[in-house]
């Protein structure tokens, strides 16, 4: 066990953990940030996607010891008021079914729009290609990301 200081959603947090504990479990079990979901634990589903220094990454694949001073953003920290254009688009396009995968989908989309505000269909497919939605909300995910990219949310 060691003490790690990590930066999550703009705040410095101290956690006591084994070095190999994945960020996902640090967030969920130690910091009570349960918005990032466990779907596979092997980097194959995207449910645990967070931003690390603005880049989309699977938190189940990041040992806490490797984070250093990198800045982690989770769904809870994506916006102050839940009004990120993607969050608004997700509500307006009624994307969620069970909702379990959606934090990961939104975080992957947020990383995409940050570096590429107007992605093509192929770029969108590529950026969200890891994220499984078992409920099959893909059509609405496409529609919602495009609406957010076009600034077409209310």
């Amino acid at each position: 066990m060691a003490l790690y200081k990590i930066n999550v959603n703009g705040k410095e947090k101290s956690v006591e953990a084994v070095p190999d504990m994945p960020l996902l479990w640090v967030l969920r079990d130690l910091l009570d940030l349960t918005g990032s979901k466990f779907g596979c634990g092997i980097g194959a589903c995207g449910a645990c996607t967070v931003l690390v220094d603005g880049v989309s990454q699977q938190s189940c694949q990041i040992p806490v010891s490797s984070l250093g001073t990198k800045k982690v953003t989770t769904i809870e920290g994506l916006s102050k008021d839940g009004k990120h254009p993607l969050q608004k688009a997700w509500i307006e396009h009624d994307v969620p079914q069970c909702g379990y995968c959606q934090a990961g989908q939104i975080m992957a989309a947020a990383a995409l729009l940050k570096k590429n505000p107007h992605p093509t269909d192929a770029e969108l497919d590529d950026a969200l290609g890891l994220n499984i939605c078992r409920c099959g909300t893909y059509q609405r995910i496409r529609d919602a990301v495009k609406a957010a990219a076009a600034g077409a949310t209310k």
């Binding site: 194959a44 769904i75 809870e76 379990y100 409920c135 059509q139």
Partner: protein, 690 residues
């Protein structure tokens, strides 16, 4: 912490207080999610007006609807609240929902399955709204000293006949609570007067979902809670001989290692500690009697169980085909889990289950406690599809908590979840059909044999939708020690899929267009209309680029009707999906955006199971263990999916399942159109076409 607030909010008894003594509405007997026998009227609680267990009106006009059915993503929390809000005549933005815990005494049986939730409660929840509204109107009539029949309501207000006087529901709560509960002359709105039903309402949980606040079973944390994972038998029928927990206990954060009925539980101070501890555990298993079992042998047994086909008419042209189906995992996005806090005289549970009252019964039996001493708080479900009809993950948590005398969350990892599911059974369908010289079908024989622990008859036997003289369907089974269970649309995932594949082959044998052939044989007008609509929307018969093909199929069941056209092509040795046209007639679409979502979801399931998803058995165990080898659709493989809802004033049909069965055959039929080759096995591999 938001967890705690959430849990308290969900605790119905606390929240609605004394409403256990509630309104008498004898008509609830037909609820499928509940068979509710409500008792005597209540005067409500405090200043709020809660005339029955389903609805509460606050002095500020806020309406809270209690949802007694779990929401596994089918949108029931939204659609059920819409039913109440419609007849109560309130504005949708003033409506909130609260999830009821399991409580058979108050709500009757609570459970979701068979695409039943909305259709089974359509009449009853509207009556709840209507009676509540009538009591508010009676209260205004009393205050104004006028006859209630002269008053109207609109947007959460009671209005005088001339519209000059208006009072908000919130101002009437105290008086309304003293009004008698109407038991007769409950008038429901006419469909043409609906303001909420039939108008798309985005999901009531969306704001919580997109901010990460929505709480699933896996997100529950209660004071003093520890975490556990269980090492389960590595083959079906394997049993524990002994284990050595020395290394496991040396893993930081591991608290205890104990034997439980389902295996060896490793308890840790967090999930990762438990998972790491399990990796270090040394277990000696007796591998049991099934280590020779594999998918090829199972298929051989299924094939051997096929009997002779029905006789076909003399002189007719006959064709035969067979279709193999693999086991399928439900693979809900949220793996199985539950939190249990077991004490000597009571037990509290948190879980997302499709069968809350069933779980309470099981746990009460296991702990030898009266049912009222078992509290189950129902969280959101990260997917159901039939997987959460059984409650073994809750039993796991109860067993561990009982043994360690602490609250515990039992987590199934994805590997646990995929290798220990109740699978859609593997199956083998054999079909024979005949057409006469004019191309009319004159014979049809269908046998499907499924492989599951239940043997024959464990999966249903659907009717054929087509008018074919002497058509015969037979379902049989072989007993195979692989646990099976209901999977979205159950038997239709096999038989109805095989029917619609073979229908295409019969049309071809008759020299007819597969759409026209079906159309001529369908007897149900609603189904026929779906088929025709799908063909029209997809441009059936219009030219396609070279190498493309369209396939069509249709389905009726669960009180609804559906048809699909899939367009695909084969490029560079790979199937590329271009377009999925989905049509449904589900009667009144209570929430059209929810109906569309169910069709999109079922379509995705149909595509994934047609093209890639399969569970394979080898050495008596499941080979696939995660999303890396149980291959599901991802964004980049998805075609454009369009959904068309047939306008209807008929009673609502089910929506969870009817969108699935015609998708895999539409894919197979499109592949024939594109390549001239037939599918004999799912999931489809191009090199296995014939």
């Amino acid at each position: 912490m938001s967890d705690r607030k959430e849990l308290t909010r969900r605790n119905f008894i606390q929240l609605v207080g004394g409403v256990g003594a509630s309104l008498a509405l004898g008509s609830f007997a037909s609820l499928a999610c509940a068979d509710v026998a409500l008792k005597t009227p209540t005067a409500g609680t405090g200043a709020s007006f809660a005339p029955n267990v389903f609805v509460k009106v606050d002095p500020d006009g806020k309406v809270t609807v209690t949802i007694i059915c779990p929401d596994a993503g089918q949108g029931s929390r939204t659609a059920l609240a819409m039913l109440v809000a419609e007849e109560l005549d309130v504005d949708w933005h003033n409506v909130a929902v609260v999830q009821a815990p399991a409580n058979q005494a108050v709500y009757g049986r609570q459970g979701i399955g068979g695409s039943n939730t909305v259709r089974s409660m359509f009449g009853e929840l509207r009556r709840v709204g209507a009676t509540t509204r009538m009591m508010l109107v009676a209260a205004a009539a009393k205050n104004w000293k006028v006859d209630a029949s002269t008053l109207k309501t609109s947007s959460g207000h009671v209005l005088s006949a001339d519209g000059k006087k208006s009072v908000a529901y919130g101002a009437l709560t105290a008086v309304a609570a003293t009004m008698p509960v109407p038991t007769s002359d409950i008038v429901l709105k006419k469909p043409e007067d609906f303001k909420i039903i039939g108008k798309p309402r985005t999901r009531i949980d969306n704001p919580d979902v997109v901010t990460g606040k929505a709480q699933y079973g896996l997100d529950v944390k209660i004071p003093g809670m520890v975490y556990a994972v269980i090492a389960r038998p590595p083959a079906f029928g394997a049993t524990l001989k002994s284990f050595d927990d020395t290394a496991a206990k040396a893993v930081p954060g591991v608290l205890q290692v104990i034997q439980v009925p389902s295996g060896v539980a490793v308890v840790g101070s967090n999930t990762w500690a438990a998972i790491s501890g399990r990796k270090a555990l040394k277990i000696d298993w007796d591998m049991g009697p099934n280590t020779d079992l594999d998918s090829a042998k199972i298929t051989a047994q299924l094939v051997a169980a096929v009997g002779p086909h029905k006789e076909m008419p003399e002189g007719a042209k006959t064709i035969e085909a067979t279709f193999d189906f693999p086991y399928l995992s439900h693979a809900t996005m949220e793996p199985m889990n539950a939190v249990a806090d077991v004490h000597d005289d009571h037990c509290t549970l948190w879980s997302g289950t499709q069968q809350p009252t069933g779980a309470v019964g099981q746990v009460a039996g296991l702990l030898k406690l009266p049912q009222e001493k078992v509290t189950l708080n129902v969280t959101l479900l990260g997917g159901g599809f039939g997987r959460r009809l059984s409650n073994e993950y809750i039993i796991d948590a109860v067993n561990v908590s009982k043994a360690i005398k602490k609250p515990v969350k039992v987590v199934w990892t994805r590997e646990d979840d995929m290798k220990h599911d109740n699978y859609r059974p593997a199956g083998h369908s054999a079909l024979k059909g005949a057409v006469d010289a004019s191309g009319s079908p004159v014979g049809w024989s269908h046998q499907t044999i499924t492989a599951g622990r239940g043997g024959a008859g464990s999966y249903g036997n659907p009717d054929l939708s087509y008018n074919i003289p002497g058509a015969g369907m037979r379902q049989g089974g072989v007993r195979i020690p692989v646990p099976t269970g209901a999977w979205r649309s159950v038997e239709h995932t096999l038989q109805s899929v095989a029917n619609e594949c073979f229908m295409d082959e019969l049309a071809h044998a008759a020299g007819k267009d597969p759409f026209e052939f079906r159309k001529g044989l369908l007897t149900n007008e609603r189904l026929k209309h779906c088929l025709v609509t799908a063909a029209e929307k997809a441009g059936w018969g219009t030219p396609l680029p070279a190498g493309h093909g369209r396939g069509i199929a249709c389905f009726e069941g669960y009180g609804s009707y559906a048809a699909h056209v899939i367009e695909l092509s084969v490029e560079n040795g790979q199937i590329k999906l271009h377009r999925a046209v989905c049509v449904v007639d589900c009667g009144i679409a209570v929430n059209p955006t929810g109906v569309e979502a169910q069709m999109q979801g079922a379509c995705t399931d149909g595509l994934a199971t047609a093209l890639s998803a399969a569970i394979t058995i080898r050495n008596g165990s499941v080979v696939e263990n995660n999303w890396s080898n149980f291959l599901w659709m991802r964004l980049d493989g998805m075609p454009k999916v369009e959904v068309h809802i047939i306008p209807s004033a008929e009673a609502p049909g089910g929506m969870g399942e009817p969108g699935y069965p015609s998708v895999p055959p539409a894919v197979a039929n499109a592949l024939f159109a594109a390549t001239g080759k037939r599918v004999r096995k799912f999931p489809i591999k191009l090199d296995e076409l014939v």
